[in-house]
């Protein structure tokens, strides 16, 4: 039981954290159409997170609810990929301020959705029929997110000198974080062995093909990744997640007995 719960929380935390990040663009997009598109991506992710937390809460029993899981766990309890909690700009410390960069947003959404189209597809065959149903819905959404982010990635890479430079900088910044995808966690291994989850390493070739193909079309260079591999899915995060959660959870925690 706890195998499935840990795995569901990993998937749910991914969705809620990126949903929270992408919603930051609402009202600030580079063009009205993109404001609407990013809000859609965010809504899909929040929707996925809700279903996954609800499933986890059901398996946990007691007084667990989707909102207790999203709002009343601390950063170290979150199991999302580090990639998804980073702010929409280049490498800066947690309390640094910077303008949002749309290239960072697009590259991140591309790298993540290129994984999730494969992961959700594999999870449609999960032994947990609830998770399989969530995956069947989510794979359609991830396919749209991939389409959207890939289109913009190519536009940026093959657009102007400035957009190319921004896209390449975002790729160079974010690519090392994708190494975390392939380092199995105990929760993932246990879930894969139980038939609930997927051995994520089996998805690498498919992800590489999507990434290499898009980078080639976008005239972007794929950097070599060496050194530290992030461990957000083990609960060891960047400096950025506690800021994100501090904001997201502030109102719910200020009124722990409130009803919304």
């Amino acid at each position: 039981m706890s195998t499935a719960i840990d795995y569901l929380l990993h998937l749910a935390d991914n969705a809620v954290v990126l949903g929270q990040r992408d919603a930051e663009w609402c009202g600030h997009g580079p063009i009205l159409e993109e404001d609407l598109a990013l809000a859609n991506v965010s809504l899909d992710l929040i929707g996925q997170a809700r279903l996954l937390y609800q499933r986890a809460a059901t398996l946990m029993g007691g007084d667990a609810t989707e909102d207790k899981l999203a709002y009343f766990r601390d950063a170290a309890d979150f199991r999302n990929y580090t990639l998804l909690e980073l702010p929409h700009h280049g490498p800066l410390v947690g309390y640094a301020a910077s303008d949002r960069d749309y290239a960072t947003t697009i590259v991140r959404n591309f790298l993540y959705s290129a994984l999730m189209v494969h992961l959700w597809d594999a999870l449609t065959r999960s032994s947990d029929s609830e998770l399989a149903a969530i995956a069947a819905k989510s794979v359609k959404e991830a396919t749209y997110h991939l389409h959207h982010s890939r289109d913009w990635l190519v536009r940026f890479g093959d657009g102007t000198d400035e957009s190319h430079a921004r896209a390449q900088a975002a790729v160079d910044h974010l690519m090392p974080y994708t190494e975390e995808f392939w380092a199995s966690s105990p929760a993932e291994t246990a879930a894969a062995e139980a038939g609930v989850g997927v051995d994520v390493r089996t998805l690498r070739a498919g992800w590489d093909a999507l990434v290499n193909d898009a980078f080639a079309e976008a005239t972007l260079t794929r950097p070599a990744c060496r050194g530290y591999v992030t461990q957000g899915k083990l609960g060891l995060h960047s400096e950025h997640l506690s800021f994100l959660l501090g904001e997201m959870q502030s109102l719910a925690r200020a009124h722990p007995n409130g009803c919304w």
Partner: protein
Amino acid sequence: MYTQSFNVPDKGQKTAAVTPSLEDPELMARFDARIDADGRIEPQDWMPEAYRKTLVRQISQHAHSEIVGMLPEGNWISRAPSLKRKAILIAKVQDEGGHGLYLYSAAETLGTSRDQMLDGLHSGRAKYSSIFNYPTLTWADVGVIGWLVDGAAIMNQIPLCRCSYGPYARAMVRVCKEESFHQRQGYEALLVMMKGTDEQKAMVQDAVNRWWWKCLAMFGPPDADSPNSAQGMRWGIKRISNDDLRQKFVDATVPQAKVLGVTLPDPDLKWNEARQHHDYGQIDWQEFWDTVDGNGPCNKERLSTRVKAHNDGQWVRDAAQAYARKQKERAIKEAA
């Protein structure tokens, strides 16, 4: 979301004057006859210049209001207290962006580009609904904006579904359906909060206190001080007067406040048996006009934020255009 129910001349622009002498009398007579018969004017039809200008001003002000209106509620997306409320709020703010998009498109059918209209907003020449120049200080503001601000907007906008200009009228049909949904969502969010803790109830009452008078002012100055309304009525752009709409809003809202369990902050608010309407107190028009003129609490923040988003996004739009150009050149080369 929210059109200003009255026409505020944009900065440096005089109220559209009717100059029938400059228009072809035969075309003018045909136009007047169509309006008199309650017919629709379509983009390809002849129309007097003053009608066109009035519509461009009104529709673009309405579109700007939708886009600026994303900001006060967007302020609470990151802190929404539950995932359900977060999703509802994102979807609502997104709807407002969508309304902006249809409205810019409707205005474009009158021969003005979106870029021109945005330039008007960003340079401070064009107006948008003043209600968005007030801050959203607590989560309850999100519910109260849905209930009262959207509620006031619906009163304004339902008559616009019968506006004489076809594209605007059709856009408003969809806008009104979504607004009505937002209003019910806002009210429902408040009903839930009023069943919660004392702090939550106090939060709702505080938000009602801050927004009530601003919402009454949204309908525009009293009819006696609203010189543009008559021309708007004549052209079938405006159908119901400011005071009548305001009265309708007050009468509809009083029982809703009672069910909710909040007090509307007006000691003069009471049922008048003779009029069969509620009487209400004096609106502070000085404060209203100060805000319309750019000196409200958030005017500068709202406008600067829109300008910044636009300027920061320039490289994104340039990239899209450069890429499209390259693709076109490649297609031509391949065809050759």
